[in-house]
């Protein structure tokens, strides 16, 4: 029992503060508004209606032959208009590294994403009242979306929660919105996952070390509890009251 107590004491010295942070952030996740935490406050949920005029479409074969080899050609809609999205290199997930070419599906012209188009795409995904105040092209790692491995435009809006819209540079895909609410939630995720280097993952070394000591802390604690129960310590104290 002496060793159990010693282990419990020293494990608690090591993980004590992190335990408080885990519980505080856990309580925050329990109570937070999930819509706000996910950056959905001003994200348009409306499906833009689009009509595909098949007779005006360019022959896919022609487009595929004109560009680098593609894994796929998909018809996507930006601002209600159809485009062919050619994936030259395809990742397992949308955030994985990709190489795209975007082509106007009616004219066959390759699309270049200038600031004007990016602004319009960002505005189309945004339901707030704010005006666009700044655009910048970011290369990964992107702190608000640490998993995103593709170059992405950040479009800042002047509104009450400082919304930032992220538009993928090669495809025009809306990666997501970030704002003060999401950043606060991300701060608590950082605390809970001990992701102090913003890797976007909880498989990190500090976390593994703390998990190891926590196991010792809780298991010795449980053992201690059982020992006290067996010795009748809990009962005696209740009677004394």
């Amino acid at each position: 029992m002496r060793w159990i107590r010693k282990l419990h004491k020293w494990a608690s010295v090591i993980v004590g503060i992190q335990f408080v942070l885990w519980l505080a952030s856990g309580l925050y996740f329990n109570l937070m508004d999930h819509t706000k935490a996910a950056g959905l406050t001003y994200l348009s949920q409306q499906m833009v209606s689009h009509q595909l005029d098949v007779s005006k479409l360019i022959e896919p074969k022609t487009v595929l032959q004109l560009h680098n080899d593609s894994v796929s050609l998909d018809t996507v809609f930006l601002l209600g208009k159809p485009y062919y999205l050619l994936s030259h290199q395809q990742g397992l997930y949308a955030h994985s590294y990709h190489q795209y070419t975007l082509v106007d599906a009616y004219s066959g012209d390759a699309v270049t994403f200038d600031k004007k188009l990016v602004t319009r795409l960002a505005q189309a995904s945004y339901t707030g009242e704010g005006k666009v105040i700044q655009l910048s092209l970011l290369t990964p790692p992107i702190s608000d979306f640490p998993k995103q491995q593709n170059s992405t435009w950040q479009v800042n809006f002047a509104d009450d929660i400082n919304t930032q819209v992220y538009v993928e540079a090669q495809s025009g895909r809306i990666v997501g919105h970030s704002d003060d609410h999401k950043k606060l939630a991300d701060f608590f995720f950082m605390l809970h996952f001990m992701d102090y280097f913003n890797e976007g993952s909880f498989n990190n070394v500090p976390m593994m070390l703390m998990a190891f000591f926590s196991l010792w802390l809780t298991l010795t604690g449980c053992y201690w509890c059982i020992d006290l129960l067996r010795k009748g310590k809990y009962r005696r104290k209740r009677r004394a009251r």
Partner: protein
């Protein structure tokens, strides 16, 4: 203060100790298991099979004549063959279709043998196929209902992997193994959700976590008295004092 903290800590942990053990065991599992491995990324290849425009003998014009109600069209490959994928609008609902870009032949819904071929095409393991089943309703919790109908192809391998292939599109829509299934259970226990596995905002978690915070704070008070204060007041004195409390 020391005595009160000790008493509170003992009594709170009598009731919360088990949940603390569950938190640390489930947390440790999630932390130690690489999340990409849990997602089954190692189960499948990402072959980058290229579309062959030279093989596309069936033109868009022929397609639109055969299917006037095309809502969406894409081109990629199915088992190496260049194919068109169509979404056809029928009023409110829509159907999906895969058509050979070479001949115009309709390749879906996927047969059992084609589903096995697709699963094998992506699978990185060496195990044999042990079981194949077409799931049309009541999907297992590891498959989203939006992917139905889908073929489930089980492999005889480490972790009992299952690959799910959409019967409508031939696309790989799921990759699961035991480690994912355990992770899912671990997460439910971690957030104390004993129903659906998605509701972190349940009242049970709130009250237990609140009491647990209090239990931890009383523990921190004990750390202060037994470790930090001991350092200041000298070991001999504290040992005498501790004799009474431990």
């Amino acid at each position: 203060m020391h005595k009160t903290a000790r008493k509170l800590h003992q009594w709170l942990m009598l009731f919360l100790g088990l949940q603390f053990a569950i938190w640390s065991v489930t947390g440790a599992y999630m932390v130690y298991m690489d999340i990409d491995f849990i997602h089954g990324d190692n189960l499948v290849t990402n072959p980058q099979t290229k579309v062959q425009p030279a093989q596309m003998h069936y033109s868009l014009q022929q397609l639109t004549r055969a299917y006037p109600n095309i809502d969406n069209i894409s081109v990629d490959t199915l088992l190496g063959e260049t194919v068109y994928r169509l979404t056809l609008a029928d009023g409110e609902s829509s159907t999906k279709l895969v058509i050979s870009a070479n001949s115009g032949e309709v390749l879906t819904p996927l047969s059992e043998s084609a589903a096995i071929s697709v699963a094998r095409y992506f699978y990185t393991g060496k195990g044999e196929v042990t079981e194949v089943a077409l799931i049309t309703d009541n999907p297992p919790f590891e498959l989203s209902p939006r992917h139905l109908p889908a073929w489930r192809v089980n492999f005889d391998d480490f972790g009992a992997p299952s690959l799910y292939v959409s019967a409508q599109t031939g696309i790989l829509v799921g990759k699961r193994h035991e480690f994912w299934r355990w992770f899912d259970w671990m997460f439910r226990f971690h957030i104390m959700d004993y129903s659906s596995g998605e509701d972190i905002d349940n009242a049970l978690l709130f009250w237990v976590a609140l009491l647990a915070s209090f239990g931890t704070l009383t523990g921190m008070v004990l750390v202060y008295f037994r470790v930090f204060k001991v350092q200041f007041t000298g070991r001999k004195k504290s040992r005498l004092r501790r004799g009474g409390v431990v």
